[in-house]
Amino acid sequence: MSEDATATAELKLPKDVAAEKGMVNVQIDGKWIQVPRGTRMIEAAKMAQKEIPHYCYHPKLSSPGNCRMCLVQMGMPPRPAPGEDPKYGEDGYQEIGWMPRPVIACANTVAENMGIRTTGELVEKTREGVMEFLLINHPLDCPICDQAGECKLQEFSVEHGRGQSRFKEDKIKKPKNVDIGKNIRLDDERCIMCSRCIRFMDEVAEEPVLGFSQRGTHTSVTVHPGYRLDNNYSLNTADICPVGALTSNDFRFQMRVWFLKETKSIDLNCGTGCNTVIWTRGNEIFRVTPRQNDEVNSAWMPDSHRLAFHQLQTDDRLTAPLVLKDGKHVETSWLEATAKAAEVLAMRQPNEVAVIASGRLSNEELYLARKIAGALKTELLSLVPRVGESDGKLISADRNPNTTGASLIWESDDPGAKLDAIREGVAAGKIKALLCLGEDLLEEAGFKPTHLKKLDHLVVTHTHANPTAAHAAVVLPGVGFAEKRATYVNVTGRLQRTNQAVIAPGGVRDDWESLACLLAKLDPDYEVPASMDGVIGALGGEIEAFQGQSFGKIGDLGVQITDTGVTIPLLEQERARIASGQIVG
């Protein structure tokens, strides 16, 4: 007995073991786990794989604790009497004295030897009560509500509600179908006052136009008089709204969410490369929403970028290769079009040929573009730079999604440097043949129709019919962002991938494939790989940054392959707020 006592005295108590690592011991539903000091109870429960239902809490926003859904039972060791030593049980923990009333798990932090019960009579009764109050004035809009199917109120009312309403009185009437901004529709009756949207606009979008007005049951979310919710990040409020109070005008009544297939992808409208989910049914894209990646876009995305998918689904898509015959474009086979393109490009002297690629091309396509330029023995290979202004949040000043990739693959500090030289060469009539990959030269490249008329031969690849393609001898159709598997490097040097969500109209060939076939015609030694993964393999063999990378290895969140020193402003702001303890992150 005395031996046992000395043995326990020598062993460290669990609290000391945890304290050395900056952790604390917490008992969650009877199981002890170690969590970092200062963790919120709700996050500790998440680590123990216990779900605590909640509405107002969002890790990226401050925690006001106003929905009361996350109430749990909490207990701490009883405070010892003066002079009394704390008693430790055989397992080294103190006995927990459970509190008779519940506490909110979202805004309270854990402490040493704390107990949390996420189940039990008290917790279940509490949740049932909170759900009953939330549902009192909630309209029976589910059949017409866009949120149905991804609504937390629906989910928790099934899981934790009482199943039937006891409310006999009339429900409060509030404004419905209110136009509060370009992209957002407000339905006040559905609102459960979680204030997520208000906090988002205040803390993340930094344009606090939303707020509560009235009191008691009449409390409603409103936009400040004289203002509108026209911020470029407004659609994120519809994403974080746990109910259907804020819905997207663009997606409104388009399709029920349970029909939609989710494909993880990335956004290609600027250098940031926000991680996205593409929601499709059949071969149609219905919406694009942000996907959390704390190294790229946190949990947000600008409206302008997420609505850009409409440009892909237009009637002017190219669906078959075209060649110019007697002044008219006629449809032809890939074989013939590729052979013709190779023929017209190769018949010129190397200094009479130039290649203009788009910064929207993937790494594989940029790699093949360089190989094609090599096969044509021309030094004139350039991107079309797209420089805008950063919005100080997620939109990068570089509107090309893959400038970093081009710098790495072409081994050039400024891949767009030669564009002016090419344009002048074309204008002076020195360049006779031009290969243009995925660009409309009359748009951002600064070309004029008179320039293009001076060219003997122009070969164009593009997704859409465009004025440049109208001048081309050969037009190869391309596939859009949601229609291919491809890899890109964002402004910070992170290698990310897109997945195929829909099939390109007309069953058009993948871009890498049409370029590889063209390269094979120009360079007889080149062997077209069996799949895109072969191109990534070849790329990894030649460029150090891509060494050992494969489509599978990149994963859904991407990998950092180089450090460009560029930072994403919104992430910097978020990190500062995490450091100051305002948000969990």
Partner: protein
Amino acid sequence: MAIVKVERPKLSAGEKIYFGAILKGMVITLRHAFRSLAGKSTGAETLKSSGIGVTMQYPEQKWDDQMPEYYRGAPALVTDEQDRERCVSCQLCEFICPPKAIKITPGEIPSDDEWAKVEKRPKEFEIDMIRCIYCGMCEEVCPEQAIYLRPDYAITGTNRSEMVHDKKRLYEIGGKRVGLVNKWNELK
């Protein structure tokens, strides 16, 4: 289990040539034939005979008035007392439909419409009657009491597109249905 040996019945010479039995059968058949010509077939009345035998002459004659209340014929959309279309295109029927016969294109009700507060209605509602299996799941799942299986069973067409019932046709079949829950009619 004990084995029971079944003996063949011993037939007499008359029975062995079967002629008597055949004749007997013919007599019974003939008797029924003459009775039916006289319009006296058994059960002719309850089976709604056309006069000869018990056969009902479809499609000149139909058994529509005999059909039970719960008969499951063509699914159709119904309107309420005020001729408001009850369907709000929640697409639950499209989701539940086992043979995927239903296709709905949801749409918004314009703000100048009398029922603008309902916000949503089907822009197009198509039921492919070649696919429909008359299971009645759509009726069961509908939260707005907008789709019912009607007694119409003769759904015919000369090509596939004729067999697809569009919104107009569905309201023609469904008609007006009264006495249902009217949650949109209260002052709102």
